[in-house]
Symmetry: C2
Subunit: 231 residues, 2 copies
DNA sequence: CATAAATCGAACATCTATGTTCGGATTACT
DNA sequence: AGTAATCCGAACATAGATGTTCGATTTATG
């Protein structure tokens, strides 16, 4: 739903009647939910699930692409709110851990919405929508670099790519049952902290809650002494 | 094209006439090429590009899914040949570098074929086809763990996931121009070597060819002293 | 060269999803 | 209460893709 300024509508416009606004909200909420379940959900499915006629939906969103765009924007906004409420003020390592923890929840829940968007929208658009979110990660990386905690021998944007790539990979592994949802943040964090360490430097231990038992984390590795040093 | 044993045909069967075998080959080659360009390429496109009637194609591959399956298998076989010819006998770090270098080429070239397969085939099938390839990475990781070079505090399969996730992420970044194709292997390797390092241990320098200038690798970072230690 | 195998185009049959149009029935707003 | 906005279902229009069937033609192969 493009406004005159070319923006995408994610909240019902003022001029409209109350029932119209309600419907738009319902459609958007439902669209996100449906796409999260099945990225190939059709407009028919979404309209039905929203308790709305197909025609009504089309009267608010000209095309499927427009609907999916709006759903994506709404998802990202939701994400941004959560991230804004996440404490990333502490030292970079701590900040990264918190950021990963929050981001993981979102990626895990809404991965399919992104998938749907990737099939329907041009990649520049998707990139653009993610800008605010990416900048949050970027600023933590910058702080970590200045403090010497994170490596500076690789491009910033590559470190960002690494972070999001791992989250999505974990989401996929989780959805196919190869890892447990609860252990994902720990895996991602442990991997990222190491990945962000410069050659020649020592990898930090992830602080915070006591780590899981190695038997739970590992899958029958050959190593006799599994955990680091271990004492 | 399922044989009586339930396998998927990737080479033309003996019984058939020579022109049939030639066509099957052409179709498979073309399918891989077409899908690599556009993962949504239709059967019509592929038949036309292969210089073959649509009916002929369907006479060899019952459904689109079957064709894509065969194309995927062929791609993986190609990959496996390349990997088999890659020297991974040396010490684990060196082996990983070589493996990444070879794998990157394949992922970069044929990423879209996998994408097409992911849309058309059940994920277990895709997993299954990748088995041999994954095992190559796995065995290097196991060796690296035994030698103490790679961390043992995370599940093997997660390290594998990490490796492939980064390659695909790099492929995407490359295809959208955010990184240069030539620098991808270096980025992936540098990141993986760190990611595979245990907490408390020191990240190895990637050996081998002299690294690029930091200005080329980096994107205007704020850090004054960019490269590690630097002397 | 004779036969069986294979190709080919064209047409047909579905199917699914997207969008559109219409007119009547509701429903919000003033 | 009156009016305009909105909803709704049903039907239509399109479009693209997948498969299938047919009969005629070409081509490998023994």
């Amino acid at each position: 739903m493009a406004t005159s300024s070319g923006q995408v509508r994610t909240t019902a416009p003022r001029g409209r009647r109350a029932d119209a606004r309600r419907n738009i909200e319902a459609i958007l909420d439902t669209a996100v939910a449906c796409l999260a379940r099945d990225p190939e959900a059709s407009v028919v499915d979404i309209a039905a699930a929203a308790g709305v006629g197909r025609v009504t939906l089309y009267s608010h969103f000209k095309t499927r692409a427009e609907l999916i765009d709006a759903a994506l924007v709404r998802t990202i906004q939701h994400a941004d709110h959560i991230l804004a409420a996440t404490d990333t003020s502490g030292e970079p390592v701590r900040a990264l851990i918190n950021l990963v923890s929050s981001t993981w929840q979102i990626v895990h829940q809404f991965r399919n919405v992104l998938l749907a968007a990737q099939r329907e929208l041009p990649s520049e658009r998707i990139r653009g929508v993610h800008n605010r979110v990416l900048r949050r990660t970027q600023s933590i990386i910058e702080r970590g670099r200045r403090s010497g905690a994170f490596r500076t021998d690789l491009p910033k944007h590559w470190l960002i790519t690494t972070a999001f790539s791992l989250m999505h990979a974990a989401a996929e592994d989780a959805s196919s049952g190869r890892i447990k949802v609860e252990q994902a943040p720990a895996l991602i964090t442990a991997t990222l902290l190491a990945a962000f360490t410069a050659p020649g430097a020592t990898v930090h231990d992830p602080p915070g809650p006591p780590p899981q038992l190695p038997q739970d984390l590992d899958d029958g590795s050959p190593a006799g002494a599994s955990r680091r040093a271990s004492g």
